[in-house]
């Protein structure tokens, strides 16, 4: 291929290998090198609910501009083992390349025990259709036939050279270096600056000089080899000069940052995929500093001295029931408190949520959705818990539901969740989905300077309360929000109970007080609906008054925007309403954007089109089309593009089920 057709800085790269073999660090090095080189990256991880041995892969896009989602195809596939090739070779574009180990050529499909029966049959059919046998060499030949560049890297030889060079007696001790060989080869064929990879290596293996130099040495060999094998490869990655700093992080980290910035001081968790990532990140960063970033200068004086110290206490509990109840106990003391979990854990929190709601406790629950039901597919993706979160707990008790669609929303919602929880004195469930939580990407450093902490109405100690004018935790006198006091404060003793209660918090079964309390609690939700600004409720993208409007929520935002960018560029008249506040439901805002649309398309990563159901329940308006996906894999922007286009062209059924992803 001539230089003219070279695609610069728009690469879809994938690396695969068994869990626990170091694939993650290789993907990390690749991503960090790209990021350090000024590129934007978006990476998605896929792995089994397994510790070692099952197939995992990282799919990464590197681009000059911001990337927010993955595409279906792969330009460079890198691996040192057979399974990845069997699984993914077909995804490589005709003009793409495969980095592989030629010594595995004789491996037969049937030699790989971890390939599912269904996939086995499917691959068999494919190989037969291409007229080849069932070895890797056969598969690679089929790839080559359609134009794919093959980059055989003699991993073992290279390892031996490194062992020699670094005087390592056993090859097994450095077996993980193969990962970096694969990365080196990838960068080689892409022509990326090698020294940038070297510093990424140093970054990832901080304080481990020998590991860094071994890996760097190996990577360079593979780099040069691959570069020489395909000097004219059609994809290039180049350093980009960039002025503004960018964050490189995951959705879990983004959420954790938002919560810390929002003043969270107590978090409980019970280990669960994918929620525990956030808690572990918090645990590692439990000691905090005060002031600085985002702080208005004139407040510096009021701040306590650094010596006093700040910290977030992260507690691993015995189960999720303890997690939610412990966090609630903590919230009663005035500490901003949260718990983070995923489906099965959330299922155990129902009673705790109800108690927090009837007692008007500001509790934040970060719900990392994964593919259900039941244990489901713990490491796979879904937006399946919306309805459950909305109606969580027996009886009727208000709660606020927020759903984040990208990293910036994760940060902001992580922060705002506490404001809402304290201002409206009710649990806030912050929905994140695994596709967002586990993805990593570069994003611009968000401007958070508008964020202010709002603790809602509080009753300071001894605030004029007396025997005759006692503090009433659930005062019915002044609007639905009664000033909160904290356990331990002087002069504001109160009681809590999960039973219906009077103004003091003592049990009552009086029907009149009951009605008043029910109305008080739900009036807070109405208040929230009125007070929360529209910008925090929904966001509309695309041409105003478009005849086709997409309605979606959560992590599909990235893939939608990436797909829509292309459609808009092609002149498509389609709008996209991204709903961030699910409860109280922004009826007016939603109506304003969809009432007049001719086509309304619900896009959701679930079976039941749950948001669409809520929209119809609350506005009476039904979606005309649905795009859904429930195979546990996130939507790619390419399949979304196709599906939306089909709808625009009038060629789609009412319901399009997306099925891509491996």
């Amino acid at each position: 291929m001539g230089a003219a057709t070279v695609r610069r800085n728009d690469v879809s790269w994938m690396i695969g290998g068994p869990q626990g073999s170091g694939v993650d660090s290789s993907a990390n090095v690749f991503a960090r090198a790209c990021a350090a080189g000024g590129l934007h990256v978006f990476g998605k991880r896929e792995f089994y609910s397994n510790i070692m041995g099952e197939h995992s892969y990282f799919h990464l896009r590197a681009h000059t501009n911001l990337v927010r989602s993955h595409i279906d195809s792969v330009n460079v596939l890198a691996t040192f083992e057979a399974e990845t090739l069997f699984r993914h070779a077909r995804e490589v574009t005709d003009d793409g390349a495969i980095v592989y180990d030629p010594s595995l050529g004789k491996t037969r499909l049937s030699d790989v025990p971890t390939i599912e029966k269904r996939l086995y049959a499917d691959l068999k059919t494919y190989l037969i259709s291409r007229g080849v046998g069932e070895t890797l060499d056969d598969l690679l030949a089929a790839s080559k036939q359609r134009g794919v560049t093959l980059l055989p890297i003699p991993f073992k030889d290279l390892l031996e050279q490194i062992a020699d060079e670094f005087k390592v007696d056993q090859l097994s001790k450095i077996s993980r270096v193969v990962n970096m060989l694969a990365v080196g080869a990838s960068f080689g064929v892409l022509g990326f600056d090698f020294s940038t990879m070297e510093s990424a290596l140093a970054d990832v293996f901080r304080n481990k000089a020998k590991i860094v130099s071994m890996n760097a040495s190996g990577a360079r060999k593979a780099y040069e080899l691959a570069g020489s094998l395909a000097p004219d490869f059609g994809y290039r990655l180049e350093r980009v000069a960039r002025k503004e700093p960018r964050l490189f992080l995951t959705g879990s980290q983004a959420t954790a940052l938002g919560k810390l910035y929002g003043g969270m001081r107590f978090q409980t968790y019970y280990p669960i995929t994918p929620a525990s990532d956030e808690s572990e990140f918090l645990e590692e960063n439990e000691v905090l500093e005060l002031n600085g970033h985002g702080l208005a200068p004139d407040a510096a004086d009021a701040a306590p001295s650094k010596e006093k110290g700040a910290s977030v206490l992260v507690v691993q509990t015995e189960d999720e029931i303890a997690a939610v109840t412990m966090a609630t106990g903590a919230a009663l003391t005035g500490a901003r408190s949260a718990t983070a979990t995923s489906g099965p854990g959330f299922s155990l929190m129902m009673e705790g949520i109800g108690w927090a709601s009837i007692n008007e406790v500001p509790l934040v629950i970060t719900l990392y959705q994964r593919a259900g039901p039941s244990t489901g597919m713990p490491t796979r993706h879904e937006q399946g818990d919306l309805r459950f979160a909305l109606h969580a707990g027996h009886g009727e008790a208000p709660r606020i539901l927020l759903a984040s669609g990208d990293f910036e929303e994760c940060i902001r919602d992580g922060f705002l969740a506490f404001n809402y929880a304290e201002r409206y004195q009710m649990p806030v469930i912050h929905l994140v989905d695994k596709a967002l939580a586990n993805s990593y990407a570069t994003v611009g450093v968000p401007d958070l300077s508008d964020l202010r902490i709002d603790r809602g109405a509080t009753a300071p100690p001894n605030d004029g309360y007396s025997k005759d004018n006692p503090y009433k935790r659930f005062d019915l006198g002044n609007g639905p929000v009664s000033p909160r006091a904290f356990l331990g404060q002087e002069g504001t003793i109160f009681w809590n109970t999960g039973d219906e209660h009077d103004e003091f918090g003592h049990i009552t079964e009086d029907p009149v007080v009951r009605d008043a309390m029910m109305e008080k609690r739900f009036a807070k939700l109405d208040l929230a609906a009125r007070e929360i600004p529209s910008e925090e409720k929904v966001k509309y993208f695309g041409p105003k008054g478009a005849p086709t409007v997409i309605v979606s929520w959560g992590s599909t935002k990235g893939a939608l925007l990436d797909a829509l960018d292309r459609l808009w560029a092609e002149g498509a008249k389609v709008g996209y309403l991204h709903v961030r506040l699910i409860n109280p439901f922004p009826v007016d805002e939603v109506l304003a954007h969809i009432a007049k649309a001719k086509r309304r398309v619900g896009v959701e990563m679930n079976f039941g089109a749950q948001l669409a159901g809520i929209v119809r329940e609350r506005t009476g308006i039904e979606m005309t089309h649905f795009i859904q996906k429930y195979n546990g894999r996130p939507m790619s922007n390419t399949e979304l593009y196709d599906a939306i286009q089909a709808i625009l062209r009038g060629k789609a059924e009412k319901r399009t089920v997306l099925t891509h992803g491996s």
Binding site: G262, A299, T317, T325, L451, G488, I493, W495, G505
Partner: protein
């Protein structure tokens, strides 16, 4: 935390109508809790009492301290959250035997692993009082109270034994009709540095017609000569029992001795302190090892916002680690 001025039990009373059955053993526990708090000269607002669900759990409404009446079986984790977020509070936790050992059994086991500085009291009446007398986990196998259609089909758990197995560092048992003794136990439990567990034998005259006040008092077995009732309940201290682990090497011995006592029942039911061990660091101390400022500046007491709501948490360093600067 203790006050200078003298406190009376009535300083810890509320005006809430008490709706326990006449003669219920719960009254004794309520009274002793109020007496113990008064004798320790606690400031009411510095005390938080957390309870589960059941007749027992209503206690908090009758005590003028912060009171948190929670969910069935969950008193311990709520109490743990309160205490961890503000270790400067005195936290008491109360459960029924169903609440604490049935549905709450998992928390019971895991609270022992923490050794948080608080007192946990179980109202041991052998039945699920508030749901009308079903067998609770402390009711013995084969016993049929008047509220049961059949003799109890489950064996009983031994709360003392279980608390020791779980890791409580102070384990005691009281009797709700021996007020003076019970006050002393509650005070000791509160003063203990670490997780104290107190099992209180609490007759439920409405549903449990087996383990009644009369039965504990031995009214069915009178001394043939004196004609006086021979109580089934006796005090460990009267036998010179020494529950204290004086040095770590003694732990095994003292634990085993406590277990032997825990097995006694029937005509010889020990009350008093079974075990006391202050050689295990409390959870608060363990946290403070990681976060030295924890005790002075715990989660509840940290400032998080400036005067105009400016966030005070400084993420600069954390963000730096996650930032790629211009290249």
């Amino acid at each position: 935390m203790a006050l200078e001025q003298v406190m009376k039990p009535s300083d810890f009373a509320t005006e809430v109508h008490n709706d326990w059955c006449p003669g219920c053993g719960d009254f004794g526990i309520l009274r002793t809790v109020q007496m113990a708090l008064a004798e320790l000269r606690m400031e009411p607002h510095r005390v938080t009492i957390v309870s589960g669900i059941g007749c027992s759990a209503k206690t908090i409404h009758y005590v003028r301290t912060y009171g948190v009446h929670t969910l069935h079986g969950r008193a311990l984790p709520y109490a743990t959250g309160v205490k961890l977020a503000n270790p400067q509070l005195k936290v008491l936790c109360l459960s029924g035997d169903g609440d604490g050992l049935g549905i709450g059994g998992g928390h019971f086991v895991n609270a022992g692993r923490r050794n948080l500085d608080m007192l946990y009291i179980i109202y041991d009446n052998g039945v699920y009082g508030l749901t009308k007398g079903q067998a609770a986990p402390t009711l013995k196998l084969g016993v049929q109270t008047k509220s049961l259609a059949h003799p109890n089909i489950n064996d009983a758990v031994n709360p003392i034994w279980l608390a020791l197995a779980a890791g409580a560092t102070w384990v005691g048992r009281g009797y709700s009709y021996d007020i003076k003794h019970l006050v002393s136990l509650i005070k000791q439990g509160i003063d203990h540095k670490g997780y104290a567990f107190l099992d209180v034998l609490q007759p439920c005259p409405t549903y449990n017609d087996i383990n009644t006040k009369e039965w504990y008092g031995g009214e069915d077995r009178k001394d043939p000569t004196s004609g006086r009732a021979l109580p089934r309940v006796y005090k460990l201290e009267d036998e010179g029992f020494d529950p204290v682990v004086h040095e770590p090497a003694e732990i095994e011995k003292k634990a085993t001795q406590a277990l032997e006592k825990a097995l006694e029942w029937g005509d010889h039911i020990p009350i008093g302190v079974f075990y006391k061990n202050e050689h295990i660091p409390t959870f608060e101390e363990r946290i403070a090892q990681r976060v030295p400022t924890y005790l002075d500046n715990p989660p509840a007491l940290q400032p998080i916002a400036g005067a105009h709501g400016e966030p005070r948490t400084d993420l600069t360093k954390l963000l730096q680690r996650l930032t790629f600067n211009s290249s």
